[in-house]
C-alpha cells in the first residue's frame, strides 16, 4: 500500500511541470480569448465593459468579415489542393525515379522554406511588378509590349490568386520533404513485385504509394489548414496590406485591423474565437472524411 502511494506521488510530481506549463501557456490564454470576446474593450487600458455576445452578433452582420472569411477559405482550398498535388508528385518523382542532380533538386525545392516570408514577399512583389516585373515581361513576349500591363497585385479579381501563387511556391518544399520521408519507409519489395506483375508507374503510385503514406497525408491536411490561416496573414501584411480596397483581407489581418487600428479589441477577439472554432471544425471534418483502415507493410 505504502509503495503504491509513493508511486502515485512520484507520477504526480513527474507530470506536474508539464501539466502546469500546459495550463499556464495554453489553456488559460485560450480561455482568455473566449472571455475577452465578450467585452467592449480598447485593448490598451484596463477599462472594459461586458457586452455578452454582441460582438458576435455584429460580426455576423459585417460584410467585411464575410469578405475576409471568403478570402481565407479560398486560400485554404487553393493552396491545399495545388500544394498537395505538386508536393506529392515531386516527392514521388524524387524518391522513386533516378534523376541526375536529385539532391540538388531537393535542396532547391526546400529553399523557399528557409527564406523568411518577408523575403519571399519582396521576391514576389518584384515578380508581380506591373512595369518591370518578370511575369509581365514574359507575357509581353507573347502579347506585345504595347499592351496594358496586368496588375497582379492591383486588380481585385486576380490579386488573391497572386497571393496564393506566392504561398504555394513557399509551401511545396516543406510538404514534399514530409511526403518523401514517409515514402522512404515503403519497402522496395512491394514495388518490385508490382513491377513483375506488370503494374505501371501510375498504377504503383495510386495503389502502393498513396495508400501507404495515407496517415502522413491526413496529418499534413491539418497542417495545411492551420498554416494557411497563419501564413496568409504574413503574406497579406508583407505584400498588399489587405488592399487594394480590402480585397485581400484575410481572417487574421481583419482581426488585427479591428483589434488595434479600430480600437475594438473585444471584437477582434470575437474574430479570434471564430477562427479558432473554424480551424478546429475544418481539421476535424478533414480527419473524419479521410479516415481509412490503417494499412501495414
Amino acid at each position: 500500500m505504502e509503495i503504491k502511494k509513493g508511486q502515485g506521488r512520484f507520477i504526480f510530481f513527474c507530470l506536474a511541470p508539464a501539466v502546469i506549463l500546459f495550463i499556464v501557456f495554453l489553456i488559460i490564454p485560450t480561455i482568455n480569448v473566449f472571455r475577452m470576446s465578450t467585452y467592449k474593450w480598447g485593448g490598451y487600458t484596463d477599462d472594459k465593459t461586458f457586452v455578452g455576445l454582441q460582438n458576435f452578433e455584429k460580426l455576423f452582420h459585417s460584410d467585411k468579415f464575410y469578405q475576409a472569411f471568403q478570402n481565407s477559405l479560398l486560400l485554404i482550398i487553393l493552396v491545399t489542393i495545388i500544394t498537395f498535388a505538386f508536393a506529392l508528385v515531386f516527392a514521388s518523382v524524387l524518391s522513386r525515379e533516378n534523376l541526375k542532380g536529385q539532391n540538388l533538386l531537393r535542396v532547391i525545392f526546400y529553399i523557399p522554406n528557409i527564406l523568411s516570408v518577408v523575403v519571399i514577399s519582396a521576391i514576389f512583389s518584384a515578380i508581380y511588378d506591373p512595369n518591370s516585373g518578370l511575369l509581365n515581361a514574359i507575357l509581353n513576349l507573347f502579347r506585345g509590349a504595347a499592351s496594358d500591363p496586368t496588375l497582379w497585385l492591383g486588380d481585385q479579381k486576380i490579386v488573391i490568386f497572386s497571393l496564393a501563387g506566392a504561398m504555394i511556391w513557399q509551401a511545396i518544399g516543406y510538404y514534399m520533404v514530409m511526403y518523401m520521408a514517409s515514402m522512404a519507409n515503403i519497402p522496395e519489395s512491394l514495388y518490385e513485385s508490382a513491377d513483375l506483375e506488370g503494374a505501371g508507374r501510375m498504377h504503383q503510385f495510386f495503389t502502393i504509394t498513396i495508400p501507404l503514406i495515407w496517415t502522413n497525408i491526413r496529418t499534413t491536411l491539418t497542417f495545411f489548414v492551420i498554416s494557411t490561416i497563419n501564413m496568409s496573414f504574413l503574406f497579406v501584411v508583407a505584400m498588399t496590406g489587405g488592399g487594394p480596397d480590402g480585397s485581400t483581407e484575410v481572417f487574421l489581418s481583419y482581426m488585427y485591423k479591428e483589434a488595434y487600428t479600430n480600437s475594438s479589441y473585444g471584437y477582434g477577439m470575437a474574430i479570434g474565437v471564430i477562427v479558432f472554432l473554424f480551424s478546429f471544425a475544418l481539421a476535424a471534418i478533414l480527419n473524419a472524411v479521410t479516415s481509412r483502415e490503417h494499412l501495414e507493410y
Partner: protein, 455 residues
Amino acid sequence: MRKVLSLALTAALSLSLAACGGNTESNSSSTSTDATNTSKNSNSTAETRTLKLAALETAYGSDVWKEVISGFEKANPGVKVETTIDKSLEDVIGPGMKSGDFPDVIHLAVGQPKGLTETFIKDNNLSDLTDVLSMTVPGESVTVKEKLIPGFTDTTITNPYGDGKTFLMPMFYSPTGLFYNAGLLEEKGWSVPTTWDEMWALGDKAKADGIALFSYPTTGYFDSFFYALLNEVGGPEFFTKAMNYTEGIWQSPEATQAFDIINKLATYTEKTVPANGNKDNFTKNQQLILDNKAIFMPNGTWVVGEMGKAPRAEGFKWGFTALPAVKTGGDRFSYTFFEQIWVPAKAKNADLAKQFITYLYSDEAAGIFAKVGAVQPIKGMASKLEGDNKLFYSIYDGGAKAAMGAFATTEPVEGVSISDTVFGTVDSLVTKAKTQAQWVEAITKASDQLRGALK
C-alpha cells in the same frame, strides 16, 4: 536508492519551477513599490522626481529627444526624465499599461496602424491639457497660447470631444499638398494649374505626351487631400459638419462636387498605382513623379527625405502647391498634418508632464527640434528654415489657406472604419471595381453608424 534519487530530482525540478514563479512575483512587486515611491516623491520637491516620457521614433531620430531632455533636466534640477523611444512604441509600452503602469507623457500621433492614441481618445483616457495653453513658457515671458500659431488648438484632433477643451497638444507640423517635378513643367512650358478645370486641361495635354496626371503613394494619403478639398467646396463650416457626420451631408451639392473631382481624378491616375499602393511598395508610386511618368501626387514635406536617394529624371526639382481651387478665384487649401503629444489620464506625474510640454515650446527646445527638420507650430518658426523646407512652409504665405482637423472621434464602432470607407475605396475607383454611387452609399452608411456613437 534510485527511487529516492528520482524523487529528489523531481522535487528539485518542481522547486525550480516554483522559484521561477516566485521570482516574477517579487519582480513585479518591486516595480510597484518603485511606482509608489515616485508618486510619493512628486509631492516632496527636495528629492528627485522622475518623468516617464514615451515617444515614437520617427524620421527625426531619437537623439533630438535626448538633447531636449537634457535641456529640460538642466532647467529643472531634481527632475530626471526616463525615456522610452522606439519605432514600435505601442508594443513596448502596451503591456505595462495593461497592468496600470502608464508613461507620464506620450508623443504619438493619431493615424498610426495600431491606433493607440485613438484608443485613449475613445476610452476618455486623456488628461485635460487646456491649462497648458495659459502656462508661461519657461525662461520666456509669453504663454504657450501666445506662442502657438492660431488655429492649431481649435481642431477636432486636439479637442476631440468638441467641448473646447484641449487634450492633445500639437507638435511637429507639415503642410501637405500636391508635389510635382517643377523641372518637367518648366521644360514642357506647362503652368501649375490653379483651378480644377486647368488641372483637367493639363491632364489631357500630358496624356498626349504619355504622362499621367496623377499618382498617389497609398490611399491613406487621400486624408489630407480630401480634408482640403472639402474645405474648398464648402468652406470650413461645411468641413466641420462633414467631420461630425451630419445627416445628409454626403448628398449635399458640395459633397457631390468633391466626390466628382476625386472620381474624375481616378480616371487620370496612372494605371499601375493601385498595384503598388501598400506600405511596402508605395515608393514605386512616388517614383513615378521622379521618373516623369506622372505629374502630381498628394504628399507631405517628409517625401523629400524619403526619396532623397532615389534616382530621378534629369533636371528634377521638387515643386509643391496647394490644391487647385474649384472655381476661378476660389479659396485654395493645404491641409496641415501635425503630430501630437498628450498625457494619459492615469499618469502619476501629470503636473510635471505639463511642465515638460510647456518647455517643448520654448525657443531653446524648438531650436533643437528644428535642426533635424522637425518644425513646431510656433509663430515665426517657418521663417527660420532653409532650403526646400523654406519653400514648403511658406505655402500659406502664398495665399493658400490652412485646413486642419479630421473625422470626429466616436466610441469604437466594431467593423466600421470611416477612413477605410472614404479613402480606401479610391483604389477601387481607379480599377473601376466600384462606382461613385456605391462609394457614396458606403460612406453614408458608415457615417450613419458613427453619428450615433459620437462623443
